[in-house]
């Protein structure tokens, strides 16, 4: 059941550059459990889109199935959404993106949705450098089916019922780096200050932007002994850097500087300003990113912030060399070779 929110809008709400209030980026009232990490992530998406003055109808929200995958109904109510089938968000997003290269694509998934049933599609969306924000709301469990361990549950993590997970976790972030994802970040639903700029950066990144957000399930995986509880995660955060988005689209000659503050230019000229907090970590070097994640893991830390960035590869449309006009806007004139050509073709087959 979705409740339609009261339509009342405060007349004095601040507006962003294109004249929208924050409210206009909200969605229907959430039906998730009170305190669910996923709702905080929805709020961060709302904030990021408001801040960036993105027109809501230029956004498409695509998800799989799960509590996490329900959230597209709870943010950006003026955007089209597609709550598809379990684990297959990446393929639906790929098709949608191919049809119209001009929208912003949010793919929302859960750890069950991505790391189990959706693993193959996740890997291949990375390989295609699909231009989208791929956000996993990672709670280490299957919320909607009542709390079974997921493949991202840590070895040794305790479930609410008291059982201990015996399997090694799939680390989505290091997998993504390993596979060559061009933007990989990790965050925590409880850290809006970090999450909002990461989402903004991900939107500006022209390619596959993956954000793995630890997002506690208050109902099934917030107990003592769980490594995905609010308490545990708060106590085990490592941070690579603080990140700011610099919107001036000026050509920057020096792309990257050694030191504690570095700037990286994105395809569209936007810049990321990173105040590095982790040593020995270079956001543009895969091995260094993997090492940083592995080292953090060995110290029982979850490394958050931007982990890896690569602006050298074009997205799928560049790879396929598609025309500038979105494919869904081409008409008969550009699509149909016509009657005369067909007669020629016929002659060639005679």
């Amino acid at each position: 059941m979705t409740y339609i929110k009261p339509l009342f809008r405060h007349p004095k709400l601040p507006k962003n550059k294109i004249g929208y209030t924050l409210k206009e980026y909200e969605g229907a009232l959430s039906t998730l459990c009170a305190g669910c990490g996923h709702d905080s992530i929805s709020a961060a998406i709302v904030q990021a889109c408001y801040d960036l003055s993105i027109e809501p109808h230029r956004v498409a929200k695509i998800s799989g199935i799960g509590c996490s995958s329900k959230t597209p109904a709870y943010f950006l109510g003026n955007s089209h959404g597609f709550n598809s089938v379990h684990g297959r968000m990446p393929s639906v997003a790929t098709g949608a993106n191919l049809a119209n290269k001009e929208l912003v694509y949010f793919g929302v998934s859960g750890d069950g949705d991505t790391a189990s049933i959706g693993m193959g599609q996740f890997v291949h969306a990375i390989r295609r450098n699909l231009n989208m924000v791929y956000l996993v709301m990672n709670n280490g469990c299957y919320g909607l089916t009542k709390g079974q361990d997921s493949a991202t549950a840590d070895k040794g993590s305790k479930s609410k019922a008291g059982s201990v997970n015996p399997f090694l976790p799939v680390d989505l972030a290091s997998m993504a780096v390993e596979l060559g994802a061009t933007f990989v970040a990790q965050s925590f639903s409880g850290d809006k200050g970090q999450l909002v700029p990461l989402i903004k950066a991900a939107i500006h990144h022209q390619g596959f932007a993956f954000i793995n957000v630890i997002s506690p399930c208050v109902t099934f995986n917030n107990n003592l002994g769980s490594t995905k509880s609010y308490d545990f995660v708060r106590g085990h955060l490592g941070v690579t850097s603080q990140l700011d988005l610099v919107m001036e689209k000026e050509a920057i000659s020096v792309d990257y500087e050694k030191g504690s503050v570095v700037r990286v230019a994105l395809h569209d000229g936007t810049e990321l300003e990173l105040s590095k907090l982790a040593n020995e970590w270079d956001p543009k070097n895969r091995i260094s990113a993997i090492n940083a994640i592995e080292n953090a893991r060995e110290n029982e830390q979850v490394l958050t912030g931007l982990l890896y960035l690569n602006t050298d590869y074009g997205d799928l449309h560049e790879i396929l060399d598609t025309t500038d006009t979105p494919l869904n806007q081409l008409d008969e004139a550009s699509l149909c070779p016509g009657t005369v050509t067909l007669e020629e073709i016929n002659r060639g087959l005679q």
């Binding site: 109808h57 955007s79 790929t94 949608a96 191919l98 049809a99 060399d321 081409l330 070779p337």
Partner: protein
């Protein structure tokens, strides 16, 4: 050389015989065999080649069977008049398969073992390898030209016009002209050898005719691909699988030619080789959801994997086009054999109450037409459309009427609201049945800043696309989907009627590649004074005319290429017809059905039910 002997039952006559080539796959025989078939086509004579190939890449037996039919019968027929047996592995079996009185061409470089000599067929040994080794030095050429040599031999035995062969070689090697002379040399080696050593032509042979007209020769997969190009498909997602792979490959070939923007060199299409079939159909659904025409092509195993997404397309009402080039199932089955056995799966795919639109092309021309039309239907009906072809149609070359495209034809994109239309509307309801035809109005992302946005989902929702578990709202929606199904019946292509009104109590029903043999069987029976009405089904749900045909006839022979009579099941179930009226006529061994199989099955029934006199029956079996 083996002695010539007088044989019995030798076939004779003009333009009516079957030649089978027995080769090893991966040895380049395909183009030589095609040259043979195409030359007959160019001589104005109806011809049907069929490739019977193994599910491997190299070194196994493969056959190419060519039927020549003055009367234009393009189906398969049993009985090999002439075997060109150049594969040692299968030689013994190939020799057995020649019909008594028939002919065998073999490579006489080595002597044929005595146990392979049958007294009742003609042996014509040509030392192909020896000739090659004598005249060519390059080992690859030696292998390839063996094949051209036997084409040369056939040219003399069967009276293929030399000029036609030369012309075809010139066309084939346009751009690589220096390959033409050695090919012609090889041809001549074969021709000369025959002229020197044998009597020719054979009692059966070719004579130029004017029976082809403006017809074309092409495979169904290419035709489907071209239909998709004309139909405006821009996003293709696919995963390789025999026998559908060449649909995507042909689309790419055509697209590179006809869909590249002249000014920028950029592509007006996108093709993605997906990681599997689930991803392929997911991409198709995503693209169509976002307003681009998009399709995928696969075969049985892929359709099985696509089930969940097919149900989503049905229930969430997203257009999608799926081309199913059927092969022999179940499971991996016989991947390189033909069947029409995915009907039940495709018609009711996925859990819950679902029904999907199916189209059944019979010829390359129809592949083209129905492929293009499937995009219109998918968008008009906002649902999945499955184009059901098969390996026989898809991968074999067929003589077909030429492709047709109306000059002023526009894409029918169905009910999609523009920004202006949204502005003119009160509250937009994605699933409101405004027009009473069960088809609601879509909007595409990005259309309007504040109106028309909604969430598409596979879960139940109300008319305004708001999630609900209300049982009434769910039921209303399911009933509207039934109404849409009713609407579909008037939009899908009508069946092909073979007569005006009704002229018999007996009717034949068929579809897809059974067309050729069914039509031939009809003629065979008519020739015996047994006349049946006939109807060729082109779509599911069944058009009104299918219903009335079934109602009007007392006994209907349902001809199909599967074990369980799947079309018959659909007819019984959807038309509520008494099963006893529908007599299954089946072939499911993976080979295309033959006219004799059909005629015999019908005769059997008629005889058993006392509609046929014993004497007449005997002439038919």
């Amino acid at each position: 050389m083996i002695q010539k002997m007088p044989k019995k039952n030798s076939t004779s006559g003009v333009n009516d015989f079957i030649v089978r080539f027995a080769n090893v796959n991966g040895t380049g025989s395909a183009s030589a065999n095609f040259l043979f078939a195409k030359s007959i086509f160019r001589m104005g004579i109806p011809v049907t080649p069929k490739n019977i190939f193994p599910s491997n890449i190299q070194g196994l037996p493969t056959w190419y069977e060519v039927r020549v039919s003055e009367k234009g019968y393009l189906g398969r027929r049993e009985g090999i008049d002439l075997m060109v047996a150049v594969n040692a592995q299968s030689l013994a079996q190939d020799i057995q398969n020649v019909k008594p009185g028939g002919y065998l061409i073999y490579d006489s470089t080595k002597r044929l073992p005595g146990e392979l000599v049958r007294p009742d067929i003609h042996y014509m040994g040509i030392p192909m390898m020896e000739l090659c080794n004598e005249h060519f030095t390059n080992p690859r050429q030696r292998q390839l030209f063996k094949n051209i040599i036997y084409v040369g031999a056939l040219a003399v035995f069967l009276r293929i016009e030399f000029e036609v062969l030369v012309q075809l070689l010139n066309e084939q090697f346009a751009g690589k002209e220096k390959l033409v002379p050695p090919n012609i040399q090889a041809l001549k080696l074969g021709m000369d050898y025959v002229k020197e050593h044998f009597e020719y032509p054979l009692p059966f042979h070719l004579e130029r005719r004017d029976l082809i007209g403006d017809k074309i020769m092409v495979d169904g997969n290419s035709a489907c691909a071209l239909g998709a190009i004309y139909g405006g498909a821009t996003v293709v997602a696919w995963y390789p699988i025999t026998p559908s792979t060449s649909v995507a490959e042909a689309f790419e070939k055509f697209a590179e030619k006809y869909r590249v923007d002249k000014a920028t060199g950029k592509k007006n299409y996108a093709i993605v080789q997906a990681e599997d079939e689930l991803a392929a159909i997911g991409m198709v659904i995503g693209a169509n959801w976002n307003g681009a025409r998009s399709f995928t092509a696969t075969s049985g195993p892929g359709v099985s994997l696509m089930n969940e997404f097919m149900g989503l397309a049905y229930f969430a009402e997203v257009p999608a086009v799926l081309i199913d080039v059927q092969r022999a199932g179940p499971s991996t089955g016989m991947p390189t054999r033909t069947q029409q056995s995915d009907l039940l799966l495709a018609a009711y795919a996925s859990h819950g109450d679902t029904k999907h639109i199916l189209l059944f092309p019979s010829t390359p021309k129809e592949c083209f037409e129905l492929s293009a039309q499937s995009f219109d239907l998918a968008e008009e009906l906002q649902t999945l459309v499955v184009l059901m072809t098969d390996l026989d149609l898809g991968m074999n070359d067929h003589v077909s009427d030429p492709f047709v495209w109306q000059k002023d034809r526009k894409y029918r994109r169905g009910k999609v609201l523009s920004a202006d239309e949204l502005d003119g509307l009160g509250r937009y309801g994605r699933y409101l049945d405004t027009d009473g035809d069960g088809i609601p109005y879509r909007t595409i992302a990005g259309t309007h800043p504040t109106k028309g946005a909604f969430t598409t989902r596979g879960t139940s929702r109300d008319e305004y696309a708001v999630y609900t578990e209300d049982n009434k709202a769910y039921q209303r929606n399911m009933e509207r989907l039934v109404k849409k199904w009713e609407t579909a019946k008037s939009l899908v292509p009508a069946p092909k009627e073979y007569q005006e009104g009704k002229s018999s109590e007996f009717g034949m029903l068929f579809f897809g590649t059974s067309i050729f043999s069914a039509e031939e069987a009809k003629d065979i029976l008519t020739g015996k004074g047994i006349s049946l009405d006939a109807l060729r089904i082109k779509a599911f749900p069944f058009h009104e005319k299918v219903r009335s045909f079934v109602e009007d006839h007392q006994v209907l022979f349902v001809i199909e290429q599967n074990r369980d009579g799947q079309m018959r099941t659909l007819l019984i179930n959807e038309l509520e017809v008494a099963p006893s009226k529908l007599i299954p006529v089946l072939n499911f061994d993976g080979m295309p059905i033959t006219a004799d199989t059909i005629a015999k099955a019908i005769a059997d029934y008629l005889y058993q039910e006392n509609h046929l006199h014993h004497d007449l029956y005997q002439t038919l079996v």
